[in-house]
């Protein structure tokens, strides 16, 4: 299954399942990372990690290892 770290820069997708510890996924959900929401990979940090995403108007960066557990729907 494709995960959001595999998106290209500027590519959008629809969020699917998250396989993260409960508290971590709860925090992301509160910030708008809900299944069905549109997500866009904005840019990668100069050293490749972390990765900046945009969801529902919010810009935030998470690490590649965490992004690899968030799948596209």
């Amino acid at each position: 299954m494709k995960h959001i770290a595999q998106l290209d820069v500027g590519e959008s997708a629809i969020l699917g399942e998250m396989k993260l510890p409960r508290e971590a996924s709860a925090r992301l959900e509160e910030m708008g990372f809900l299944p069905g929401a549109a997500i866009r990979l904005v840019r990668r940090a100069p050293l490749g990690c972390p990765i900046e995403f945009e969801v529902a108007g919010t810009r935030l960066a998470i690490r590649g290892v965490d992004a690899a557990n968030i799948f596209v729907g």
């Binding site: 925090r27 509160e30 940090a45 972390p50 919010t58 935030l60």
Partner: protein, 689 residues
């Protein structure tokens, strides 16, 4: 004055709560910690339009009332009225970002469900407009039944309307039906609330923030900009702040002289000039560097650039379990660990914050520089400037390795109690608010002077007492006798010198032979008197120096140095170095002035060359130079790691809210310094004769 109403500011991090708090309260604010946690409590007072005073509480930033961090837990508990130290607020002022209402109403709707009178502040309306988002505040007001005030808090736009809302006697409770169910259900309810009130012009375009980011986090230009900013920062800290530091130094020297002239010689005068004025001066002198550092940090934070620094540096920090937010605190510690540790407040995760605080003192702070310079000069008496620079570089590299090594260790040691997810929010860039930066610098400066100042003052008095007492009456008498002889002989020499000059000039002009001869014999007599006087001055000065060194050996500090001598001998140190180590426990740079007390018998740091000569000439019992290569190396390694700064201990204690961590820090760093210095001395013995 409990009749004053209490307004609480609530909102996500980075929404501009603190900006609004500063705009409302100005300088009438108080910063403290919530008892039992290391979360900052900011409280202030303001007046409404009728002149009634009210209280404002700036609650820690939160994304949700289902608390996941200590900050959020405080916010949740205060809003529920569960904290004994803080009453439940009378009115909640909820800040939301006009350009991103969905997410910000996540917290706002939870807050409204508490049923407290509420005012909604629609902040950053200018940014929303730039993004093509228009919000009809009136519609939200009708639906929620509470005031909804559009604002740009950083430009103070909308303050008037907010003041009107704050001054209203009867503030309504929001009409909001509590959401039942999960996160998705809440977002659905928010969608309903906002439908028709928020319009978006559908256009894909680059925002100003995007354009800035194209340069500032660019794979090449991003590093160029970051390195230039850091170079500027270090230039400001080490070079520009030299001027105000010079003035402060001169000011305290002048103050000391004033006291010296006006007071009777004795212990009390020495306590005031050396203990108190010297001690306070030793703290205040670091203030320009610290304020400069805070200026840069506040500026970066205020504009939104600091988040980009974390974004760029995260990869380099994550290897040892730190995150990008630790970069600036660690970097600041290269100037001084105190502001570095205070800068960890921008880190939300208590665990990352603790690790950063624990390793911060390993960085080569500027107080180590004078010690390094002195020891490197002793170690390489014939070394070139390049060789010396390489040793200095080596010490900096050693400290970087130390930071990484111990961060790695603590990352393994400390239990992972919280979510391991690192989220870096990247706020939109904004123009800096100088007023806010000024307030922040002022606030941090005050904390530094209060916390570090009191500790250093107490310690410099203690240190003064340790080198002064107990006194040996015989030495005191001999010093007094030698000094009175010194005084009369100096006076004599002072009178003779101009007399001789006059005689020489007359002798040249006179032509008559017999007068010339008579003049010459007088001149010779005077010159003999002068050289006698100078010889006595020299020998008596030498005696005073020796006696002062003996007094020091007799004092508590000297005895302590002798007592620890067996312990430090395997490191290559003698008791005099022991005194230096003990003295520099309060502050590292004290080593240099202590060495000058020990070897010159007077505290004249400006004659640094003189002290170094004496130290270089110092011999051991076996005739070897005391400050040989091995001993110097061992001392340098000791100074890289040892926790010799009591102000840092005080700040660690404050920032971790526990003596346990402060003491642990002293023990682990000093213990490691001992082992590392021991290893350096012993192992180098195999290579260096």
């Amino acid at each position: 004055m409990d009749s004053e109403r209490l307004f609480a500011l609530v909102g996500n991090p980075n929404i501009g709560k603190t900006t609004l708090f500063n705009a409302l309260t100005g300088l009438r604010q108080k910063v403290a910690n919530y008892p039992g946690v290391t979360v900052e409590k900011k409280e202030g007072t303001a007046r409404d339009r009728h002149g009634n005073q009210f209280k404002v509480l700036d609650l820690p930033g939160a994304y949700s009332l289902e608390a996941k961090s200590p900050d959020e837990e405080v916010t949740r508990a205060v809003l529920h009225g569960e904290r004994a130290d803080t009453p439940q607020p009378d009115v909640v002022v909820c800040l939301v970002d006009a350009s991103n209402l969905e997410r910000h109403f996540y917290l706002a709707t939870q807050v409204m469900e508490l049923g407290l009178p509420t005012i909604v502040v629609l902040n950053k309306t200018d940014e929303a407009k730039k993004l093509g988002v228009t919000v009809t505040a009136k519609k939200l007001e009708e639906r929620l039944g509470v005031p909804v005030v559009p604002m740009q808090a950083n430009e103070r736009v909308g303050m008037e309307a907010l003041q009107v809302a704050l001054s209203s006697k009867e503030l309504a409770k929001p009409q909001w039906r509590p959401v039942e169910g999960n996160v998705a259900a809440r977002y659905e309810a928010i969608d309903q609330l906002l439908s028709g009130a928020v319009a978006r012009s559908e256009q894909e375009r680059l925002t100003p923030t995007d354009k800035w980011d194209q340069v500032l986090v660019h794979p090449v230009w991003g590093w160029v900009v970051l390195l230039s900013i850091l170079a500027g920062l270090f230039y400001a800290i080490f070079s520009l702040s030299g001027y105000p530091m010079g003035w402060i130094d001169a000011g305290f020297a002048w103050l000391g002289e004033c006291v010296e002239v006006r007071m009777q010689e004795g212990d009390f005068r020495s306590l005031i000039t050396e203990g108190i004025i010297g001690g306070v001066g030793g703290v205040v002198i670091f203030l320009p560097q610290i304020l400069m550092l805070f200026f840069f940090i506040s500026l970066m934070e205020n504009t939104g650039y600091l988040a980009r620094v974390s974004f760029m540096m995260d990869r380099l920090m994550s290897g040892v379990g730190l995150n990008g937010k630790a970069f600036i605190p660690v970097l600041s510690s290269y100037a001084c660990a105190i502001p570095g540790i205070m800068a960890t407040r921008t880190m939300e995760s208590p665990r990352d914050r603790l690790i950063t605080i624990l390793v911060a003192p390993i960085t080569s702070c500027s107080a180590r520089l004078p010690v390094y310079l002195m020891l490197i000069a002793l170690m390489l008496p014939l070394g070139t400037a390049t060789q010396k620079a390489f040793v200095m570089l080596g010490l900096y590299i050693l400290s970087i390795l130390g930071v990484y090594f111990f961060a790695w260790i603590f990352n393994r040691m400390l239990k992972k109690t919280e979510t391991t997810l690192t989220i870096l929010e990247l706020p939109t860039y904004q123009r800096p608010s100088w007023r806010e930066i000024g307030l922040q610098i002022l606030d941090r400066g005050k904390i530094f002077v209060r916390r570090a100042g009191t500790v250093i003052l107490a310690l410099s008095i203690l240190l003064w007492a340790m080198v002064t007492y107990p006194k040996n009456q015989e030495y005191e008498k001999r010093v007094a006798a030698a000094e009175s002889i010194l005084e009369t002989q100096s006076e004599l020499s002072g009178n003779l010198t101009p007399q001789i000059e006059v005689l020489i000039s007359i002798e040249k002009e006179v032509t008559e032979q017999n007068v010339k001869l008579a003049l010459r014999s007088i001149l010779e007599e005077k010159q003999t008197q002068l050289s006698d006087a100078n010889r006595i001055i020299e020998s008596k000065s030498e005696e005073v120096r020796n006696l002062t060194a003996k007094k020091l050996a007799h004092s508590a500090a000297g005895r302590l140095g002798k007592a620890i001598e067996p312990g430090i001998e395997p490191l290559g140190y003698d008791w005099k170095m022991g005194v230096g180590l003990v003295a520099s426990f309060a502050a590292r740079e004290v080593f240099v002035s202590t060495m000058s007390i020990i070897y010159l018998g007077e505290d004249k740091t400006e004659e640094g060359g003189e002290v170094s000569k004496k130290m270089a000439a110092e011999k051991r019992a076996d005739g070897q130079p005391a400050y040989n290569l091995r001993t110097c190396l061992s001392l340098l390694v000791f100074y890289v790691f040892a926790m010799q700064c009591l102000s840092t201990v005080a700040v660690t204690r404050r920032e971790t809210n526990s003596w346990r961590w402060a003491i642990f820090q002293v023990v682990y760093l000093t213990g490691f310094a001992y082992l590392a210095a021991f290893a350096t001395y012993q192992i180098s013995g195999f290579f260096i004769a």
